[in-house]
């Protein structure tokens, strides 16, 4: 025992002076690659996978529409049918047209022609719903859409 104690006493303490630097580096990394999620998701939103995809424009040129089942903890108040979320509210399908026009009018005139509607649709949603949304968009003459997906092979899918 005494032999161990003797050795321990002579060992220098590890310097932790650079620990803050390392943590700050991590912090800045996360600050740059992530974005603050400005609206809380009320619906399940697990995006499908695709490989032949284009990267989206900047966030200010996007209008986002979320579609999916209500989150489990909200199922009591929202029911268990498909729901559409616009910004932070649950909406009806007929609200999409006015919502998109309203969002469009908030954008500066110079980028209005480049605005894309990003359809963030849960992968378990039926296509009929998506078709209805597309029809609403056509009615307000907004034709540029993007089916937002994750990148990757959809290998384990059943057909």
């Amino acid at each position: 025992m005494s032999a161990f104690n003797g050795r321990n006493r002579s060992e220098p303490a590890i310097s932790t002076a650079s620990l803050p630097d390392i943590v700050f580096m991590l912090l800045f990394f996360f600050m740059t690659v992530t974005t603050i999620s400005n609206n809380e998701l009320l619906v399940e939103n697990e995006l499908p996978m695709a490989t032949a995809i284009n990267t989206l424009d900047k966030k200010d040129r996007l209008i986002e529409i979320y579609v999916g089942m209500p989150k489990q903890e909200l199922a009591k108040t929202l029911g268990n049918a498909l729901r559409i979320q616009l910004n932070d509210q649950i909406a009806q399908i007929t609200d999409i047209g006015p919502f998109v026009l309203q969002e469009l009018s908030k954008k500066p005139e110079s980028i209005r022609n480049f605005v894309t509607v990003a359809l963030k649709v849960d992968k378990n949603v039926k296509v009929g719903m998506v078709a209805d949304i597309k029809k609403e968009l056509q009615e307000v003459h907004v034709y540029k859409v993007n089916y937002t997906t994750h990148q990757g092979e959809s290998g384990n899918q059943k057909f």
Binding site: T16, L26, A52, N54, V125, K126, V127, S154, Q157
Partner: protein, 201 residues
């Protein structure tokens, strides 16, 4: 009391704790951006002024039923064969006007890539992920052909050229150069993907 030589040292031991706290805050409140997807232009809702007559052989119909099965040109098909079939249809080149196509010149299939149209029909009950996977394969077929031509003409992939062209950080001199190249490849295989109305049964 004699003054010390320098200012007293600040204890920076808790700096790491503060930084960790900030780090954890950012980890919790932010999400990594999912900023990619399939771009699509919707057709205008007004019907065109005159009816356009399209020969049946220039249309490649893909039907998806509610179980996610594919009916391609009236034959049941596996998803993994779809890209190949679509590619073969697009560059079939029956009238011989397309000099860069390597198709079989089958008279019962499409005339040339500018006339070839892919028509996608789906059931209302089809799952969205199936629908996206099928669209992905069809866009992939276009990308394969465009990549091949871009490799032949310019020695690089079309998808990379297009991404560079659309990226605002690319210097404008390179972008102007890419613009014509991208346009040329796009005109070689124009993406004509029609989404018909969904059916209810």
């Amino acid at each position: 009391m004699p003054r010390r030589k320098g200012a007293p040292e600040v204890n920076a031991g808790s700096m790491a704790d503060i930084a960790f706290l900030l780090l954890i805050f950012f980890l919790v409140t932010t999400t990594i951006e999912t900023d990619a997807g399939l771009d699509r232009m919707l057709p205008p809702i007004e019907p065109p002024d005159q009816d356009v007559v399209i020969k049946q052989k220039n249309i490649f119909t893909v039907n998806i039923n509610k179980n996610g099965q594919l009916l391609v040109e009236d034959n049941l098909m596996n998803l993994k064969d779809l890209r190949k079939a679509a590619t073969a249809f697009l560059e079939n080149n029956a009238d011989g006007s397309c000099t860069y196509c390597k198709g079989k010149k089958d008279q019962s299939s499409s005339d040339n890539p500018t006339k070839a149209i892919i028509s996608l029909k789906n059931d209302r009950e089809t799952k969205y992920s199936t629908y996206i996977t099928v669209q992905n394969e069809l866009v992939g077929a276009y990308n394969d052909l465009r990549n091949r031509e871009a490799q032949r003409l310019y020695g690089q992939d079309f998808t990379k050229m297009e991404a560079d062209y659309l990226n605002p950080e690319t210097p404008s001199a390179i972008r102007d150069d890419l613009k014509d190249k991208v346009k040329r490849i796009q005109d070689m295989f124009p993406q004509k993907l029609s989404e018909a109305e969904t059916s209810t049964n």
